[in-house]
């Protein structure tokens, strides 16, 4: 009897209460922080700064300072494993798997030669020439599942990567771009809107000249004869049959290469591209022609 009365009574109480809504709920504890600092005799006290020392005075010591101790970061002897690391060239990587993904999702057009500009245009790769990034390092992740016939130009590639691309009947070139050219390739629109003539690409520095002139790495300055020899040698090494490019229907596309002085595919140094008028202006002055041809 008693319990029934209690139930009814509580139900009545519950019915008389207002509905639960945003208007009558309390904030979570600790969710509101007073932005004002207390004043007065005991209003603020230490204002959360603690008692005594540099904490209270809020004159924090510099990072790593240990109040007179020999600091930790100076306690070890000098170990120069990474000496000069901030001066070295970097090649931010992109893997074959990612390239395959870009091709499968139609972010890269493989009927045209692929270079760093087209990879950046896909939106899934970025690099920063001002941070000593010198272009793409094509890595061998997904080397077994790669199955596209492409004419690609990267800045660094390993032997396996070269083999994987050539096995599928493609062509790879490693090419050097100076930082200025890389800025142009990263954002061509910005450059064209600045209304300047396309400059020439500069020659690689001495420490990578070997890489970009050797046929094993498919350097852009290597002898084409030697490259074809190396293509054959690599196919022998990895045990695949080298597809014959000469009989391919996209032979002309696969044979397209940039000039060592050229930055954009199809655009020569010295030309001015106007996007508004959709026109290309070519210089006719002999001195200009000579300068841009050198």
């Amino acid at each position: 009897m008693g319990s029934r009365q209690i139930t009814e009574k509580s139900l009545v109480m519950l019915r008389s209460l207002p509905r639960l809504s945003l208007a009558n709920i309390r904030d979570n504890p600790g969710s509101k922080k007073n932005t004002k600092r207390g004043r007065g005799q005991h209003g603020g006290d230490k204002h959360g700064a603690g008692n005594k020392g540099s904490g209270q005075r809020q004159n924090y010591m510099r990072l790593g300072y240990e109040t007179g101790n020999n600091p930790f970061y100076l306690r070890m002897p000098h170990e120069p494993y990474y000496k000069g690391h901030h001066h070295r060239r970097e090649y931010p990587p992109i893997s074959l798997l990612e390239i395959q993904k870009l091709i499968d999702t139609d972010l890269i057009d493989i009927t045209q030669p692929i270079d760093i500009a087209s990879i950046v245009k896909s939106g899934l790769y970025n690099f920063f020439p001002d941070k000593k990034h010198f272009g793409i390092n094509l890595t061998d992740e997904g080397v077994d599942s790669f199955a596209a016939k492409i004419n690609i130009e990267v800045q660094w590639a390993s032997e396996q990567v070269i083999a994987a691309i050539e096995k599928n009947g493609g062509v790879i070139t490693t090419a050097y771009y100076d930082p200025h050219s890389l800025f142009l390739l990263k954002n061509p629109k910005k450059f064209f809107e600045s209304g300047q003539a396309i400059p020439r690409r500069m020659i690689p520095p001495a420490d990578v000249i070997e890489y970009y002139t050797s046929a094993e790495t498919r350097g852009y300055l290597a002898d084409p004869e030697k490259i074809s020899q190396e293509r054959f040698r690599l196919s022998q090494k990895y045990g695949y049959e080298l597809p014959n490019i000469e009989n391919d229907q996209c032979y002309t596309m696969l044979c397209e290469r940039k000039d060592p002085r050229q930055i954009f595919h199809g655009l020569e140094p010295g030309w001015v591209v106007n996007l508004k008028d959709k026109c290309i202006l070519k210089p006719k002055d002999d001195e200009l022609l000579q300068f841009y041809a050198s």
Binding site: F192, E193, S194, G195, Q196, A197, M202, I203, P204, A206, I209, E210, T213, L221, G270, V272, N274, L275, K276, D277, C279, L281, P283, D285, E287, L288, F291
Partner: protein, 247 residues
């Protein structure tokens, strides 16, 4: 006059409105007669209407920007006189910007400067750099090979040197052992002389030891002399033998 003109204007506006919506080219021959009368006035009127229609309250430059025109027709500050700005205007707004596109290329002086910079920044041609690096690599290879040869010759001699060293050490040890045994023998002899064990620090012991040592030395000297004499005699005999053989 104004009133009657206005009337004509309204008509014109109406016609132009029709023009906007019609798909065929309207015949405006009749109107041309009217337009010839006072074109300037008409244009001014049109301009005024256009101005009134522009309720954006944007600054002129911003209004231009929004409508895809270059912001300033006249140079407004020093920066607007620079080549860079004018190139930019051409790049962005094309021929409509009114900039001579010949500005886009460097001048003769700039070309000279660029050439000078490149002569300093890239003093060597690709072929020269290639040759220099090849030379460097060859030298490095040569250095490594020479070092390899050096190490190989030394390794070949290693066994011999090890043997020599071991022999030297063994010889030294043997000498030390012999000296020690000799000394022990002497001490034993002295003990035998006294007939009992005596402290080696004792005066008497030392005396006898010195004596014994002296005797030993004498004996050794004698032995040496005898051996020398023997050698001499042998030599003489040999010589005499040789002489007799010759004669």
């Amino acid at each position: 006059m104004n009133i009657c003109l206005r009337n004509k204007f309204t008509r014109l506006n109406l016609v132009s409105n029709f023009h906007r919506f019609s798909t065929t080219v309207p015949e405006i021959e009749q109107n041309e007669q009217v337009l010839i009368d006072d074109t300037e006035d008409l244009l001014a009127k049109e301009e005024e209407i256009r101005k009134k229609r522009n309720t954006s309250r944007l600054a002129k430059a911003h209004y231009n920007l929004v409508n895809g025109r270059r912001p300033y027709e006249e140079p407004n500050c020093l920066a607007h006189l620079t080549v860079k700005y004018n190139r930019k205007m051409y790049g962005k707004y094309g021929v409509a910007s009114g900039v001579n596109p010949s500005l886009c290329w460097p001048t003769k002086k700039e070309i000279e400067e660029k050439k000078e910079f490149e002569a300093v920044a890239f003093p060597y041609t690709i072929r020269q750099v290639m040759d220099a690096t090849a030379e460097k690599r060859r030298e490095e290879q040569l250095r490594i090979e020479q070092r390899d040869i050096e190490v190989a010759t030394k390794v070949a001699k290693l066994e011999q040197w090890k043997k020599e060293l071991n022999d030297k050490v063994a010889k030294k040890a043997a000498e030390v052992l012999a000296a020690k045994q000799k000394k022990e023998r002497l001490v034993e002899e002295v003990r035998r002389h006294f007939g009992f064990t005596l402290d080696p620090k004792d005066e008497r012991f030392k005396e006898v030891l010195a004596k014994r040592e002296k005797e030993q030395k004498k004996l050794e000297k004698q032995a040496r002399m005898e051996a020398k004499e023997k050698m001499m005699i042998a030599k003489l005999q040999q010589k005499s033998g040789e002489i007799s053989e010759k004669s």
